[in-house]
Symmetry: C2
Subunit: 235 residues, 2 copies
């Protein structure tokens, strides 16, 4: 008997944006695992903290929080810790902020574990949908497309992709806020972008990107760009 | 005293993918409104049918189900019916399959009502995330982008946009399945596309797009295209 791995999308941060299904799997798991910084609290764990303390074991998978790609060794170690529990026949709930398959560490852990273990993915409310709801901006309608891309891309690449987008959501702003501002200024689209920080949380902030100062933004921030906003909402 | 409008994302179809927040607003509303075909059941209503029958009024907003754009008059009539309830001071829950701001009739109704009435949007699990979870395919990771676009676009436009995509999700397959197959064949990418029908429902189907026959697909179907799937999952 081996255990099963459940990748649980927990939504963007508001504990009420948990799904009934994620809650059921969370409560049924023997082990609750989550990404966490080297020191300090796990954001994913904080979303469901009110449902924990049921005698479940917990595994914090520690990731370096410095800018740049996470080393493969960190994922390898996390996958090994999960595999050890699965091998003991214990069901593991792996907590994922937002949706597990949209820019999450789950993707890397899943790639290392799916071949050997039974995995079920429970989709969640993505931070992208939560940001759009908070800002009350349509993401896509009718014949329009939606482009989601990370601000970590090179400046020329960002410009080339954003130039032809209908609606675009730029994630992972972090250290790349200043670069994105320059790219949008170059495209004369800066006034078409809305900045959303910590959507769905009490400290949520929504303002024009042009009004956001500095070169860096918090990790949980994104921008919604609607180059043709009049047409796509009202035509 | 005027009522408030709540746009509730209900998720892709599995009633368990409802969020706690959507459930709370659903139960608190005086009126429950939903899109429905000219004759027959509303899919959005079916997702939450187990929570209804609490003495709430119901409003079915009827839309023609024929292919092509919905006439503006249908949205106008729906918005007028909602406004009449809001004007009486009644809180209205408007049910939205998936997420309200991703290709939903909510966007059109919201555009007609948001100026005059208080509106809150509750994000939901999008059908796109649900399809990816069902097929166990990452939507975006690391520096990759995600493009979502409707199959209703012209053949040349589809080809041009898909050619440069990292991961792409093609929605609204419907009558456009044959066209999409031809486009992907032309790009030599047909073998990189997975077809997902009615994700999260008991009748869910997942298969290679190349194995799907015919020119048309059900409305609730989409394709996930990962042109460079080996690199993006495992590198």
């Amino acid at each position: 008997m081996t255990g099963r791995l459940f990748g649980l999308g927990l939504g963007p941060g508001d504990p009420e944006l948990l799904t009934l299904k994620a809650l059921r799997f969370l409560r049924a798991a023997d082990v609750v695992a989550y990404p966490a910084p080297q020191a300090g609290e796990s954001f994913a764990r904080s979303i469901v903290a009110r449902w924990l303390d049921r005698g479940q074991s917990e595994i914090a998978i520690r990731f370096p929080m410095r800018p740049g790609p996470v080393p493969a060794a960190a994922y390898d170690a996390g996958a090994a810790a999960l595999a050890a529990e699965l091998g003991r026949g214990r069901d593991v709930a792996l907590l994922c902020q937002g949706d597990p398959l949209v820019y999450g560490s789950f993707i890397e852990l899943f790639a290392r574990l799916a071949g050997r273990w039974e995995v079920e993915v429970v989709p969640g409310v993505s931070s992208i949908c939560a940001a759009a709801a908070a800002a009350r901006l349509p993401l896509a309608s009718r014949e329009a497309s939606l482009l989601v891309l990370p601000a970590t891309l090179a400046e020329a690449d960002l410009a080339r992709r954003l130039m032809t987008a209908d609606t675009a959501v730029i994630v992972k702003l972090g250290q790349h806020l200043g670069k994105l501002r320059r790219v949008l200024e170059g495209l004369r689209l800066l006034d078409r972008a809305i900045y959303v920080e910590r959507a769905s949380l009490p400290e949520e902030r929504i303002l024009p990107l042009a009004a956001v100062e500095g070169e860096a933004a918090p990790y949980f921030s994104l921008a919604i760009l609607r180059p043709h906003s009049t047409e796509s909402t009202h035509s």
